[in-house]
């Protein structure tokens, strides 16, 4: 059974600081997705990583995928308050499986002024 773990589960950081959220998964997959969820809202797609070594950047966020290590990272550069949200990674259940995503535990990010 595919398991997806994120750490940390909660992250409180100051504005201007850098930090990384980690997403580990337990079985082979080469497709991983990052989502953002604001309180009381739905999920917003942030990044789609479709191969080993893929790196995507948008503003202060950068995501990468290492399929051999079964690890994805979401790096936050010079955090601002607007980045406060819960971040989820999601992994395709198996190579070739049809659109079934397994979500990570989520990381609640709170950026303090």
């Amino acid at each position: 059974e595919l398991k997806v773990e994120q750490n940390p589960l909660f992250l409180s950081m100051q504005e201007g600081k850098n930090y990384t959220i980690y997403c580990n998964y337990s079985t082979t997959s080469d497709r991983l997705y990052w989502y953002r969820q604001d309180p009381g809202k739905s999920l917003e797609s942030l990044f789609v990583l479709l191969s080993n070594g893929a790196v995507k950047q948008e503003g202060r966020l950068m995501a990468s995928l290492d399929t051999k290590a079964r690890l994805s990272t979401l790096h936050i550069t010079a955090a601002v308050h607007d980045l406060s949200a819960t971040y989820f990674c999601a992994v395709d259940r198996a190579r070739g499986a049809t659109n079934k995503l397994i979500f990570g535990t989520g990381t609640l990010l709170a950026v303090q002024p």
């Binding site: 497709r31 997705y33 989502y35 809202k41 739905s42 999920l43 917003e44 797609s45 789609v48 479709l50 989820f88 999601a90 395709d92 049809t98 659109n99 079934k100 995503l101 397994i102 979500f103 990570g104 535990t105 989520g106």
Partner: protein, 116 residues
């Protein structure tokens, strides 16, 4: 990306009753899914809604409890049957386009259900 709406946005229901949640997409999509997000938790896939055939349920979810309809490529419903307080959750539908080899999914706004 597709525009997805859900009805109702929230509801408070009594134990033992049923609630049907609607999911409408503004374009035809092949894949539609239903998820549950319990308070403070991650998302769990309930089932894949298949157009023209029965839904495919994940382990721990059964058709009698969560019947799903998918009459066409833009619409699906999820019913939460014989509700108990443990069913209090956010229910989200999502769609996948399958474009460019990606299984990226886009989510509706969710239905927040409270069962008393």
């Amino acid at each position: 990306s597709a525009v997805i709406s859900q009805k109702p946005s929230r509801d408070i229901c009594q134990r033992g009753t049923s609630l049907t949640i609607q999911c409408q997409v503004d374009s035809q999509v092949t894949m539609m899914f239903w998820y549950r997000q319990q308070p403070g938790q991650s998302l769990t896939l309930i089932a894949t809604a298949n157009q023209g055939s029965e839904a495919t349920y994940e382990s721990g979810f059964v058709i009698d409890k969560f019947p799903i309809s998918r009459p066409n490529l833009t619409f699906s419903t999820l019913t939460v049957s014989n509700m108990s307080p443990e069913d209090s959750s956010i229910y989200l539908c999502s769609v996948g386009t399958g474009l460019a080899g990606s299984n990226e999914q886009f989510f509706g706004p969710g239905t927040r259900l409270t069962v008393l």
